[in-house]
């Protein structure tokens, strides 16, 4: 493409600074989008944009991530508002499908095809002329050796990687990945994360959804957080992490000498309070600086000659973090 059409909606400015939900060089724009299925509202007046690089789409189950991703690529029409890819409506302009790809979350893969045949089919639909493209795409996700195996026989992780290969074979400018690391083993996760980051570095718009904060942090510089179909937060991953870290947390610590450890803990600046939880047989520490505590606690245990048996955040579920963000 020679030049991109102008954005359909100018990104909002706040005091001269761009709203963190928007990017200056947007390739995907979502403006005031609402989607509902019968009485269920999946997205509610959502506005944000995505540009080159990897953006994490974070939210608990049912937050509307999948619906947003499907709306982005045109699989689902928005009941209200607009979605544009490179300034074009993916529901009406089928040519824009040649510029984007979706890796859906669900395990479904076409029956009766080998991985090679599936990727070749997608390549044919997109008019890919590079004869080696299907093989290269399979190689890039370490599935080349299984190219002749039927996709029906694959594990969840292998199906996911095959779908990633089918997306990559089209060389998309916009790649939308819905929970792409589901089912992948640790080695494959590292490999896929490196692959997505590389695509982002090449200037592709890569949007990755997950409900695992740490996973998104490893992948994306920018994070968009959804909650109940609404935008809960957006910005750099550090800003999101800080926002989450700065809220009060409760950490359970079990040790071989709780009394001695408690005495040391109350002297720490990162600790706001310590209580003894008889039910859990441990100390519950209240902190607003979890990261500092994570460094100080092992040091304190070593200096006090206390053996730590268990350290566990009591309210560290993503759901609770999101609740804090949208409070």
């Amino acid at each position: 493409m020679s030049s991109l059409p102008p954005p359909t909606v100018p990104p909002p400015q706040y005091g001269g600074a761009l709203d963190p939900a928007f990017v200056a060089d947007a390739t995907v724009e979502v403006a005031n989008a609402s989607v509902w299925f019968g009485p269920k509202v999946a997205l509610s007046e959502l506005s944000c944009s995505f540009g080159p690089g990897v953006t994490g789409l974070l939210g608990p189950n049912g937050a509307g991530k999948t619906t947003l991703m499907r709306a982005m690529v045109g699989l689902v029409s928005v009941n209200q508002g607009t979605v544009r890819i490179e300034g074009r409506d993916p529901r009406r302009d089928r040519a824009v499908h040649g510029r984007m790809a979706l890796v859906p979350e669900d395990e479904a893969v076409p029956a009766g095809l080998t991985a090679g045949q599936f990727v070749r089919y997608v390549a044919d639909l997109h008019g890919v002329v590079d004869r080696e493209a299907p093989s290269n795409a399979l190689r890039s996700v370490s599935m080349f050796d299984d190219a002749d195996r039927n996709v029906d026989t694959f594990s969840k992780g292998m199906r996911q990687r095959t779908k990633v290969a089918a997306a990559l074979v089209t060389d998309p400018q916009v790649l939308v990945l819905d929970e792409p690391l589901n089912g992948a083993d640790p080695v494959q996760r590292v490999h896929l994360i490196a692959l997505f980051k590389q695509l982002g570095a090449l200037g592709r718009t890569v949007i990755v959804s997950s409900h695992v904060l740490n996973e998104v942090e490893r992948l994306a510089e920018r994070v968009v957080v959804l909650m109940h179909g609404r935008l809960a937060a957006a910005g750099g991953r550090h800003a999101i992490r800080d926002a989450m870290d700065d809220r009060p947390r409760h950490v359970l610590v079990r040790s071989n000498d709780g009394r001695r450890l408690a005495a040391g803990l109350v002297a720490l600046e990162s600790v706001a309070g310590v209580t003894f939880d008889t039910a859990r047989d441990g100390l519950v520490i209240q902190t607003v600086r979890a990261r500092e505590l994570a460094t100080a606690l092992p040091r304190l245990a070593r200096d006090s000659s206390v053996r730590l048996l268990e350290v566990r955040a009591l309210d560290d579920s993503l759901e609770s973090l999101f609740r804090e963000l949208v409070r």
Binding site: L75, L113, V129
Partner: protein, 255 residues
Amino acid sequence: MTVPSPTITRRPRSRFIAIVLYTLQSCVPPKRWVAVLLPCAGALLFGLLAHAVDGAADRAFANIAAEAIFGLVMPIAALVIGDSVLGAEVRAGTFQFTWLSPAPTWQIVMGRWLGGSVVALVTIAPSCALAAVIAGSPSSAGPAFLAALVGSVSYVALFIAIGCLTRRTAVWSLAFVFLIERLLGGALTGVAQLSPTWESRAIFVGYLDDPPDRLIREGIPQGGYAIVRLLIVMIVALAVANWRMGHLRLSGASD
């Protein structure tokens, strides 16, 4: 990602051909073939049953074919095919791999229809012709083949259109066959004129040398005219499917 290498170009397989081959390979897996072949075997059994009917073999087969083969076997077999080539894929959540491509919707609709028609061509039509031979009426094999072919490809087009209109393709298709065609079509000639069951029966009867009078229905064109009528039905169904294809809301298998 991929290691940069000199690009070896190939002429990509045309989208249309790719869709047809995919339809044959993926949409109609072995289990679906069995489901199509079962009613086809039923057609052969009806051919045998014609021997039990009193009278000349030609007339006995004509009566059996009109009621059982074109009224029951052909719609059910075509329903299995029609649901396989689109509705089942939409429900399974795999249709999005085709929909999310720059291929025009007409190519997707026509590719799916052609794929389904090929399956009908090698299953439904020959089994209906073979039923005539088994019934001892080889002269009816040609008309039976032609009527079954035109009727089943029309059905496939209709069921694809239904698949584009609703997620419950099989249920609505059955309702179409048994409520609209059988019940309403049996009573109202206007409905029967647009029905693949009634029109394929009219094609069959129109090409028989000596058709039984009871099979000739007033107001329904016979032979070639019935073929034209079904072609129009088929074109309209494919046009509706094409129009709806662009408006599909593919919310995934899990929904």
